[in-house]
Each structure stands twice: as structure tokens, then as C-alpha cells.
């Protein structure tokens, strides 16, 4: 599979400190790639660096042939990469429908087709579209967050710990929805604390520790490897 999003030898951090060292990864169309690893491994940081939220000191990031290293977030969105942060990922004072409208902010012209697609992915939300997003349950809020990001029909979807704090029922739903999105051709990169569940439904995985690549490969292989499981995935 040719890679859509590529990160090569990235060095990045905040302020005086570097957090990521020589990090490389790639995601292709129609695949789900999970970034896993122990706490403090730099998983979320890696995702944030793709979205332009960190100082990039070395290496490069590209989508297709376009080098996006050092671009600001609103430019990266225009390049087809959408990001669902872990926290504060909805407009809690606006309705569900308005959240999706904000997701489609950069679209010109009629976007009712995109709206239909998103409501089909999240049928529960259709009935609640006039409800204030902040009053929904945790799982539904996460769905609003994903729906907002999908309104631009992104090529790449970045999900930062999408199942954090969710009940098993919602976790399963999120994973299922992610698979549906993948099947429509989107490249999905996700960061997960629940490494085993993530690798169980992802196609490939990267194991990070202390800001560096440690292991990578098909998700099933990573999952089956006892050594990796013990050292990096909490047994």
C-alpha cells in the first residue's frame, strides 16, 4: 500500500525540551494504524506534531507529495487532515447539528451529502441534532467529536484516545464506526491507551517508548508478541 501520510525522522517538542526523537511512521488509504506504548511515550505528542501543534526541529511530515512540516493547524486542515483531540473536542454550547456545521466550515457550497453520511454513521445523533452537545453522554459526545471531524471528508483522520473514559458498549461502537470510516478509504491514525483493544481492531501498529520507535508491524503480530506485550503494553 502506498503511504498517504508519512512522517520521517521527526524531532519535535515544546519550549526547550524535545519529546520526539527520530520518529517515523506512515499511514495508507483505507487502513487503521494504532500508536500504542506506555505512559509518557509521546503518542499524543506524535499526533499533535502531525497537526502542527508542536515545534518541529528536524525531520519531515508529508501528505501525498505535499510537505506539511511546520504548517499551522488551519492550513493542515485544508490539506485534508482532520484531528479529534482527546479533551475539549466539541463545541459544548452549540447543538449537535451546529457542531457538524462548524466541522464543515471550510466547505464551499452545499454539503448536505456530507451531513447525510455523518448522520448515517451516527444514527443516534440524528434524533438529538437540536440538543446542546455538552448535555450528551460521554459516548455521544465522542461521536459528535468524530462527526465534526468527518464533515470535511478528510483523507486522514487523527483520533487521540477516542475511547478514553467510555463504557465498553461505546468503545465497541467507536471501533466499529472507525472501521466503517476506514472502509470508505480514509486513512486513520489513532492513539490508544487500551493497547490490546486497539491492536485488536487496527490493521497496523507502532509501539513507541520515550519518544522513539520501538516496534512496528501488522497489528496482529504485535499483539501476539509476548515480549512486546510485557515490555510496552502492560502485560
Amino acid at each position: 500500500m502506498t503511504a498517504l501520510l508519512t512522517m520521517k525522522n521527526l524531532r519535535a517538542g515544546y519550549g526547550d525540551a524535545d519529546i520526539l526523537f527520530d520518529l517515523s511512521m506512515e499511514v495508507a488509504r483505507g487502513e487503521i494504524v494504532a500508536i500504542v506504548g506506555p505512559n509518557g511515550a509521546g503518542k499524543s505528542t506524535a499526533m499533535k506534531s502531525i497537526f502542527g501543534l508542536l515545534d518541529i526541529r528536524g525531520g519531515s511530515i508529508a501528505i501525498g507529495d505535499t510537505d506539511i512540516t511546520g504548517w499551522a493547524p488551519n492550513r493542515i486542515v485544508k490539506a485534508g487532515i482532520c484531528y479529534v483531540p482527546q479533551v475539549k473536542n466539541i463545541f459544548s454550547e452549540m447543538t449537535v447539528h451546529e457542531n457538524f456545521e462548524m466541522g464543515a466550515f471550510l466547505r464551499k457550497g452545499d454539503y448536505s451529502a456530507a451531513l447525510d453520511r455523518v448522520y448515517r454513521l451516527f444514527p443516534d445523533l440524528k434524533a438529538k441534532r437540536k440538543t446542546t452537545a455538552g448535555s450528551l453522554s460521554g459516548g455521544q459526545r465522542q461521536m459528535v467529536a468524530m462527526g465534526r471531524a468527518l464533515m470535511l471528508d478528510p483523507q486522514v483522520l487523527l483520533l487521540d484516545e477516542p475511547t478514553a473514559g467510555l463504557s465498553p458498549k461505546y468503545m465497541e461502537q467507536i471501533f466499529q464506526i472507525s472501521r466503517d470510516v476506514r472502509d470508505s478509504g480514509v486513512a486513520i491514525l489513532l492513539v490508544e491507551q487500551h493497547a490490546k483493544q486497539a491492536l485488536a481492531f487496527a490493521d497496523r501498529g507502532y509501539v513507541l517508548a520515550a519518544g522513539r520507535n520501538r516496534h512496528e508491524g501488522p497489528a496482529a503480530e504485535l499483539l501476539a508478541d509476548r515480549h512486546i506485550a510485557e515490555m510496552f503494553l502492560g502485560g
Binding site: 493547524p73 488551519n74 486542515v77 463545541f91 466550515f105 471550510l106 470535511l152
Partner: protein
């Protein structure tokens, strides 16, 4: 006291004054919500708007009501200019610095008005208007216009914020500025929009203050405290709160003469402000607390 006296001497003046406060408070709450600082030049911007309207009546020979829309637009644009020249380069610094700068802009606006128009009081029209009598309620024509225009502006703003793409973008920036950025909302455009609206409302607020009382260079500064109190009472960031807060402060001010000496009337806003900060800092409609 009978109902007519109550309405004529307290409720109606309170609502008229309250509408003036509400128009100013909406601007203050918008700036608080989107740019996260207190804009202390707001009152003097209202003064500026009022005097610009006066300039239009004297130089172009327009009636005050015709001058109003011009003053609204001019002040709105001027507010953007002020932002670009005095506030924009401070955005990366702690917000309190911009607050300090706005204090300075307030003084500059006031002294500009003083240099050009002096410190004496003046008004848009000469002569005394006779109040009309509608079912026992004595109301003057300019009070009616004040209420109608205030209602119209509020409705227009509401429609803008709920139906228009950029209005929703403003609400999004107030709600979650980072996520708005991630959704591609252009920060600079939203800020310009906020200033046009806040500046325009300031002009309206100042105009009606001048129309209902008189024009003088410190008029805007004098309503700074009540408009801030109204915005905080209603809940920072809540437009409906600013409106209700404005009306409440206006009415409370009129009623206060029943319990405190008349010279201290303006302190009722201060009292409201202290009570809100003590007991319910988020305000009536649960806004932000900065």
C-alpha cells in the same frame, strides 16, 4: 405609589436606560468571550460614536435618526482600526496587558472628543420634547425609538449568530477557540467581526444615551461601570445575559433612589457588581468566569 407612577417614574426610565446599558453590555460580553479581556475603552467608544453622530448632523445636516446608521458603521470600522493599531500586537502577551492598553485607548478617545468638541454639554436637538400619553403611560418619542431600535438590533444580532455561518463561527470561538481553529475558522476574521459588532453597538448605546440625556465627553466613561456590571450580572459571554443584565441594572438604578440618596444612584450598579462577584460570579445565565 400607584401603578402609573411606578411605570412612569421608575420602570420606564429604567427600561430605557437599561436598553442603553444592554447595547453596551453586549459588546463587552462579546469581547470578553472571544478575546478574553475586559475592554475598558468601551464607554469612551460609545462617547465617540455619539459625537460622530453629532458630527454627521452638523456637517451633513442630517436628522439625528438618519445619522445613527452612519455613526454605527463608522464606529464599527473605527473599532477594527483601534484593534489593529493598539491591541493586535499584544495578543501573544498576557491578556491583562491588552486591558491596560484599552484603558489608555479610553483616555485617548475621551481627550480627542474633548479637543474637538470641548467639555461642555450639548445635545442633538434643541428644545424640550413633550411626552405622549398612552393609556396613562407617559413616554417620549425618543424613548420609543430607543426601545424599538434596541430591540431591532438585538433581534438582528440573534439572527446573525444563529443563522449565519460567521455568526456561528463567533459562537464557536467563544465556546472552544482551539477547536474553532482546528475547524479552519480564521481567528483574525472573527475578531474583526466582533469589533464591528461591538463598535456598532457602542455607537448606538452612546447615541441613545445622548438622545435621552445629553452629550458630554465623559458620558461613556460614566456608563462603563453599569455596562460592565450588566455584562457580568448576565454572565460573561451570554448575549441574552447582557440584555437582561442591562435592563436589570437600569431598573435597579431608577429604583435605588427609593432607598439610597439620589447622589449615589450610580453606585447601585457597583452594588450589583459586588453582589454578583460575591455570590454568583458566573452570573444569571452561567457564563464564563475569567
Amino acid at each position: 405609589m400607584d401603578i402609573h407612577s411606578f411605570v412612569n417614574f421608575f420602570l420606564l426610565p429604567g427600561i430605557v436606560q437599561g436598553s442603553i446599558y444592554a447595547l453596551g453590555a453586549i459588546g463587552i460580553t462579546l469581547v470578553f468571550a472571544i478575546m478574553r479581556y475586559g475592554h475598558f475603552a468601551h464607554g469612551d467608544l460609545a462617547t465617540f460614536g455619539a459625537f460622530i453622530a453629532l458630527a454627521f448632523t452638523t456637517t451633513l445636516g442630517l436628522s439625528p435618526y438618519a445619522a445613527l446608521p452612519l455613526a454605527v458603521v463608522a464606529t464599527g470600522v473605527f473599532a477594527i482600526v483601534i484593534d489593529r493599531v493598539f491591541y493586535a500586537h499584544l495578543r501573544a502577551l498576557p491578556k491583562i496587558i491588552t486591558t491596560i492598553a484599552s484603558f489608555g485607548v479610553a483616555l485617548m478617545l475621551r481627550s480627542f472628543v474633548q479637543v474637538v468638541w470641548g467639555v461642555n454639554t450639548t445635545s442633538y436637538t434643541r428644545g424640550i420634547t413633550r411626552p405622549e400619553n398612552w393609556f396613562g403611560i407617559r413616554i417620549k418619542s425618543h424613548e420609543i425609538v430607543t426601545l424599538l431600535v434596541a430591540i431591532a438590533l438585538v433581534v438582528a444580532l440573534h439572527l446573525f449568530l444563529t443563522r449565519n455561518k460567521w455568526g456561528k463561527a463567533m459562537r464557536a470561538m467563544s465556546d472552544n477557540p482551539e477547536l474553532a481553529l482546528f475547524s479552519g475558522v480564521d481567528n483574525a476574521k472573527v475578531i474583526s467581526l466582533t469589533w464591528i459588532i461591538a463598535g456598532g453597538l457602542c455607537a448606538a448605546s452612546g447615541f441613545f444615551l445622548g438622545l435621552n440625556t445629553e452629550l458630554k465627553s465623559v458620558m461613556g466613561w460614566n456608563i462603563l461601570l453599569p455596562t460592565f456590571a450588566a455584562a457580568i450580572l448576565g454572565g460573561v459571554g451570554r448575549i441574552e445575559g447582557a440584555i437582561v443584565g442591562g435592563l436589570l441594572v437600569g431598573i435597579a438604578e431608577e429604583l435605588s433612589v427609593l432607598v439610597i440618596p439620589g447622589e449615589y444612584k450610580v453606585m447601585s450598579a457597583f452594588g450589583i457588581l459586588l453582589l454578583v462577584l460575591l455570590f454568583r460570579p458566573t452570573g444569571l445565565f452561567r457564563g464564563k468566569v475569567l
